[in-house]
């Protein structure tokens, strides 16, 4: 025990004096988690509470166009600005320069087109009932009185959302106009507002519920997604320090002396694992603390820790041990520090991509989804998501933890067999 404790003290001292290593293990992931969360948070805001900027140019003078604009506003998706005297060049400048998501141009004759169309539909309806309405001239169909301009760089999903809202508003106005025309044709009086609202109001509501393991509501924010993901990335990034540390020790004169001492090199490896497991736990504590205390002060949503704190501690320890085992494996096989750093860093980035940390795993092609299961980062992420996003408990992450433990034991076995082959243990 004395040997292990002395070795841990040695490793901690070496670690604390390696400033570059500390920056790589702590400062870089912290920076990364803040930047990525801030970027993704803006997307979450667009899709969530914050409204899209929409420019409306109304060249029509009728009442229906005003009702259409009011309908657009009630969708809650847009922050509408008006400019009725804008040309196409000025519109392009607005869209590219002023961060406007899109523009809707209502051309002259829009209201008349809707009203005439409504009367025509009402006339046809009366005719089909066997009644005679006022004669209405046939309205030219599909004439584009409405134009929708958008930035070609706009995400397809956002474009579809805007188009859906515009189409929905238009259909609502057309339905209202048709209803009014029909009522007037039958009763020769205006449709009362209360009846109009009653007819147009949907009788079937939709309740949106994010499904959580404990049936409690879970707040889905960029922070809840990103903090666990980048914490895992930080943990696996210890490969840069630990992998290099093992190689540096193997190449240094101290290793020759260690091999002549009456103590197994296994103690040195055990010490490194304990020390760096401590580092991964510190990383998690630091990044979680930043998510809880610092994020709100810089305008980002605060991190909410899972209800199952014991589960969080166990998942963090298992993820950390897996990250340390991976780094140890790289360090044992690498011949130079450059090999350990370069291979370690690149492989962690690749594993994080196929593990779903950088892009959602459902986007990956089917063949890559098989690869996903060999990425330990995938299982770490799934285990954390059970706790952070799904409101689950430790037992709900059982499969993920078991997979992680299996991968960890395989990594340990590979490293120890290689050391045995090299007669180092």
């Amino acid at each position: 025990m004395m040997k292990l404790w002395a070795t841990i003290q040695k490793d901690v001292r070496l670690l604390l004096r390696d400033r570059v290593g500390l920056v790589l293990m702590f400062a870089m992931p912290i920076l990364l988690v803040i930047i990525v969360t801030a970027i993704q948070n803006s997307t979450f805001d667009i899709m969530g509470g914050k409204r899209l900027s929409l420019l409306v140019c109304n060249k029509d003078e009728g009442n229906t166009s005003k009702q259409f604009i009011a309908a657009l506003d009630t969708t809650g998706l847009f922050s509408i600005t008006f400019n009725n005297n804008i040309n196409e060049q000025q519109l392009a400048d607005k869209i590219y320069g002023d961060n406007v998501a899109g523009a809707v141009i209502i051309t002259k004759g829009f209201s008349k087109q809707i009203e005439d169309g409504a009367k025509q539909t009402a006339g046809k309806a009366l005719h089909s009932f066997g009644l005679e309405g006022d004669a209405v001239a046939t309205v030219a169909g599909n004439k584009n009185f409405l134009r929708f301009y958008y930035n070609p760089a706009l995400q397809q999903s956002l474009k579809l959302s805007i188009r859906g809202a515009v189409t929905g508003s238009l259909q609502m106005i057309e339905s209202k106009a048709t209803l009014k025309a029909l009522y007037y044709a039958i009763n020769e009086s205006d449709l009362p507002d209360s009846l109009q609202q009653q007819i147009l109001k949907s009788n079937v509501g939709i309740e949106e519920i994010p499904l959580a393991h404990n049936m409690a509501s879970t707040e889905l924010t960029a922070t809840q997604h990103n903090v666990p993901a980048w914490t895992i990335f930080a943990m696996f990034f210890v490969v840069m320090s630990l992998g290099s540390s093992i190689v540096r020790e193997k190449l240094s004169g101290s290793f020759i002396r260690l091999k002549t001492l009456p103590t197994s090199y296994f103690i040195a490896l055990l010490s490194k694992q304990v020390t760096y497991l401590g580092v991964t736990v510190m990383q998690a504590i630091t990044i979680f603390a930043i998510g809880i205390f610092i994020f709100p002060s810089i305008g980002l949503p605060a991190l909410h820790l899972p209800h199952d704190v014991v589960g969080l501690i166990i998942v963090t320890l298992v993820c950390g041990w897996c990250a340390v085992s991976y780094a140890m494996c790289i360090g044992v096989f690498a011949q130079t520090q450059e090999q350990a750093s370069a291979f370690g860093a690149v492989s962690v980035v690749i594993l994080s991509i196929i593990g779903g940390l950088m892009i959602p795993s459902f986007i990956l092609p089917g063949s890559f989804r098989l690869l996903m299961s060999i990425s330990p980062l995938h299982w770490c992420l799934q285990a954390y998501y059970v706790l952070f996003l799904e409101g689950g408990r430790l037992k709900d992450a059982g499969t993920n933890i078991l997979s992680l433990l299996i991968i960890t034991l395989i990594l340990q076995a590979i490293a120890l067999l290689e050391l045995k082959r090299k007669k180092l243990i």
Partner: protein, 246 residues
């Protein structure tokens, strides 16, 4: 127990894909000696030292260290000897105190022993003033002293020294040599190899000259010098190997 410090019997060794370096090598070093192993580059000195200290393994023959076969009692033997390699064999980012604490623990010493022994060594080797500074800031001479201090930390019965004074000034060299003699006077057997022949003459009382994996001379230094009518190791070396000592 009156066993030899080192007894090599019928040792055969070759690196893979090479012809045999040692073919039936035999050598005995008695306890209490200050034994020097010399030879031209490639003679096999470092390989022999690596075999004796267990850094390399062999299949044919046997090596006994202080009566224990290295094949069967490897870890037990490691407790009995100290090793001062030519390369700096410590952590440069640590202080002498921290280095000795770590290596002392790996020798199996307890905390009290480590502190007491470290302070004694710092005193003897004149390192007390710098014992809490990182070794990477030290001069070459001071680093050599730290390298030596770690090797003798556990007061070994047998001490291997590979170029222990290379690159140090005269004053530090004398300090190190005097300390080694003092260790030997207290019962530690020294196994020494170096290119510093003057230093070897000053330190060693028995030597072996090696060339191409064979021991070509082995006796007390004064006997060899008298037998070959030489007044120094360099002349003896040239006469026996036909090569300059580099």
């Amino acid at each position: 127990m009156n066993a030899a410090a080192i007894k090599i019997d019928h040792l055969h060794f070759h690196y893979s894909a090479q012809q045999k370096l040692f073919d039936d090598l035999n050598l005995t070093v008695d306890k209490g000696e200050r034994f020097g192993l010399f030879g031209p580059n490639g003679a096999g000195k470092t390989t022999l030292m690596s075999l004796i200290t267990g850094l390399l393994s062999f299949k044919e023959g046997d090596i006994k260290v202080l009566g224990h076969s290295i094949k069967t009692k490897h870890k037990k033997i490691n407790q009995l000897f100290g090793f001062v390699p030519q390369d700096y064999s410590f952590y440069e980012e640590l202080t002498p105190v921290e280095n000795l604490a770590f290596f002392g623990a790996w020798y199996g010493m307890d905390k009290k022993e480590i502190i007491k022994r470290s302070n004694t060594l710092f005193e003897i080797l004149d390192l007390t003033a710098v014992k809490d500074q990182q070794v990477k800031k030290f001069s070459g001479g001071m680093k050599r002293k730290v390298n030596l201090a770690i090797g003798v930390m556990h007061q070994p019965q047998l001490l291997f020294l590979d170029e222990p004074t290379v690159g140090v000034d005269v004053q530090t060299r004398h300090q190190i040599i005097n300390y080694l003699k003092q260790l030997n006077a207290n019962g530690t057997t020294l196994i020494y190899t170096s290119h510093q022949l003057n230093e070897a003459e000053e330190l060693c009382n028995k030597i072996a000259l090696m060339d191409e994996g064979k021991i070509i001379a082995f006796d007390r230094l004064d006997n060899l010098l008298a037998e070959y009518k030489q007044d120094g190791l360099e002349g003896l070396f040239i006469q026996l190997t036909g090569k300059q000592y580099e």
